[in-house]
Amino acid sequence: MRRIVATAVAVAAALLLQLTLINRLHLPGGGTPDLVLLLVAAVGLAGGPVPGMTTGFIAGLSLDLAASASQLIGEYALVFCLIGWACGRLRGTVARSAVLPIVIAAAAAAIGEVLVAVLGIALDPAQVTLAAVRQVLPAAVIYDMALSPFVLYLVLLVSASLSGPLAGVARPAGGGAAATALPGSGGLAGSSGGPALLGRASWLAGPPASRRARKQAARRGLRLGRGSARPGDGWVGGGPPGRVTPGQPRRPGNAPKLRPGAGVAGSAVAGQVRRALPARPVNLKLASGRRRGGPAGTGQRPGLPGGAGAGTYSAGRGLGLGAKPVDLRLGSSRRRGGVIGGGLLGAGTGTRRPAAQPKFRAHPGKPSRTALGGSAAGGVLDQQALRAIRRRKGRSPRLRLASGRRGDGVLGSPLAGRSLTGRASRPAPAVPRFRSRPLGSGQLPAGKHPRFGFGRLSFRARRRGGRARVWKIASKRTGGLR
């Protein structure tokens, strides 16, 4: 609702500014920038196809009506609607690159100007002459291109501040890091140098822009302290401590910080390490650049009881709702996939449904893939399941059971008193580990499957020979997880 209001206000402001000020300026070349067109393109890039085309239609129609008797009603509506839709379709580029959206916005403005001219010549040849178009169009396009980055930046900024950490709208992160966003859930923008915000959706949103957003993020998410700030440390599964699950009161006190080394140096452990952890540590590698990468845990539906919480991002839908499962790379360079975490199946409500037994599932038809999880505890591996894996022929998913490696983290959600039903008798656990380490060879072909990786080389980083310090959860083609 706030977005709609903000968009309406922005459109009205741009329209009035265009008609009363910009058209009055007599810039060299005769043309004037079209602020409304730029706004429509930016809204499309920030919001997606539907907001883009709706904004375009309404803004165009308003322009048609406001400058009455200038042109036919619907001319600008038609062009702006198309531009908004096209920019919305290319919204994924906002997550991929910092420069590409600017190029797209400029190109959209140029195409929009050309379309307006062509439509004018076709529909109203008495008023729009070819000579006039030839004289004015180049200057107008150049002014549009010059103005488009600023409009785009403003729109993205406002969009990000409006949506907060939950809506996952990308905006340019500082320090040359490209903006990252995921449509629908949230962005992962762990800058590797500084503390990375992990948590429900603030993962991907980058450092929060406003103080309010920072506070909100602090309430919602876990914070990796400096001590554990290795590039690529992460948190998989489980719910953030701030999240009140039904039936369980929120823990008093501040949000837990991730402390370096709950036992092992480099471990990323939030809050108290509970006793009831899985018997064996699980070493999970989230490799990058693989074709079958996938997200860990769930997080798309905040309303789901239990588990659908922390720091993760939505495999849950695929897992719990019976759609296509998403593969998660377990181990490096193996074609194994699985979903870890989750907790879609009614955990946290106190009663466990029988269906929520954690289990490994082999995918029908694709024996090399394994789905893991769906459990209340957020992906705690069942011993039986492990055994089942081992028994299976072929290569097993590399779930390393070794302990004590640096950089491992907690897998699952030991926080907030989640009951690990049926595991009370297990011996005291070592800290499970979670490693997400950027691996080389990001040049593997991108398939249709989403990818969970680190280190797609941005073109800027490529020049320097470094890696983009941006988490990518995206497929190469779409830029988003769909």
Binding site: L15, F57, L72, L90, G120, Q127
Partner: protein, 323 residues
């Protein structure tokens, strides 16, 4: 990102709606529904534009654009006066014979003259059309197809009116055609606008009906009379011929005309409101004689004074009021 089915459907609906609007407006732009829509939207946007224009016009003026309502009230009043004088002057400039003819034909009177509504430019049109929006509408008596002028000369023609605003198609618009008359020779012709140009203000192109007419640079053009003064009242200066284009075998004489009005810096303009419809005969009446006060001087002669001193100061009663 692939479109979902819903997105595609939505896009299709919106595009169809836009196309339908274009088609309907193209087919019948004067239908009552569209007129109502334009009227309402014009009122809404006009009010907003009027407000915003007060803020933005100083900015525009700073950047070399036209100044709007920000000029002081005195300047505005003076500009209005100049416009009014120009309108009156344009009448006077017509030849006596033409004037008498027009007076009879158009039932215009000398004394009433044109009624001028002064208005301020609040917005400039978008796109390739050369239009401006003024802050006077039907509430001020403005109707479509009325002449708009400034102190320099012709600006354009009112093409759309709402209650608070009106849209003026400038004489430089590519679709605008103005009937003109060459000032000394009386040749009839018309000028069309160049449309939007890179320099902002282009030259109008003149075509004269008489192919054998001799056009000379420096000749002045005024608007010729139209029926019921719509869209253009007669005698408004349009421009001066800057270059004669003689193409052999052309049916019409052609020339380029430099307009008097600087179309890039319009701020206060006048709309010539047509004579009132309810009493057209009033204006053809000759000027009514006015009763003038007669000064009366009473001289009292005192007996003791010399008669020679008081005699020159005593005019005959009634003789001074004759003039």
């Amino acid at each position: 990102m692939r479109d979902t089915r819903r997105t595609r459907l939505f896009l299709g609906v919106l595009l169809l709606a836009a196309l339908a609007l274009v088609a309907l407006d193209y087919q019948d732009g004067s239908s009552s529904v569209f007129r109502a829509i334009r009227h309402v939207s014009g009122s809404v946007f006009g009010g907003a534009e009027r407000t915003v224009s007060a803020v933005t016009s100083p900015v525009a003026r700073f950047f070399g654009g036209s100044s709007g309502s920000a000029s002081s009230s005195q300047v505005t009043a003076l500009q209005q006066q100049v416009i009014r004088l120009r309108a009156e002057l344009s009448q006077e400039q017509l030849s006596k014979a033409d004037y008498a003819q027009l007076q009879r034909l158009l039932q215009l009177a000398g004394q009433g003259g044109y009624r001028i509504v002064a208005a301020t430019v609040i917005a400039i049109g978008q796109g390739y059309a050369q239009t401006i929006t003024l802050d006077a509408g039907t509430d001020d008596g403005v109707q479509p197809q009325e002449t708009v002028l400034t102190g320099q000369g012709l600006v354009g023609e009112v093409t759309a009116v709402t209650s608070q605003t009106c849209t003026v198609t400038l004489a430089t618009d590519a679709s605008s055609v103005v009937g003109v008359e060459l000032a000394p020779s009386g040749q009839l012709g018309w000028v069309t606008g160049p449309g939007k140009t890179a320099s902002g203000t282009g030259q109008l192109s003149l075509k004269v009906l008489n192919a054998s007419a001799v056009l000379k640079p420096g000749e002045q053009l005024v608007t010729s009379a139209s029926v019921n003064d719509r869209p253009f009242v007669p005698g408004v200066p349009v421009g001066v011929i800057s270059k004669v284009q003689n193409s052999g075998g052309a049916l019409t004489g052609q020339a380029l005309v430099q307009p008097y009005v600087d179309f890039t810096s319009l701020s206060v303009v006048g709309i010539v409101v047509a004579p009132p419809v309810h009493n057209p005969r009033f204006s053809v009446l000759p000027p009514s004689p006015r009763a003038r006060p007669t000064p009366t001087v009473t001289v009292t002669v005192t007996p003791g004074a010399t008669p020679g001193a008081s005699a020159p100061a005593t005019p005959a009663p009634g003789s001074s009021g004759g003039g």
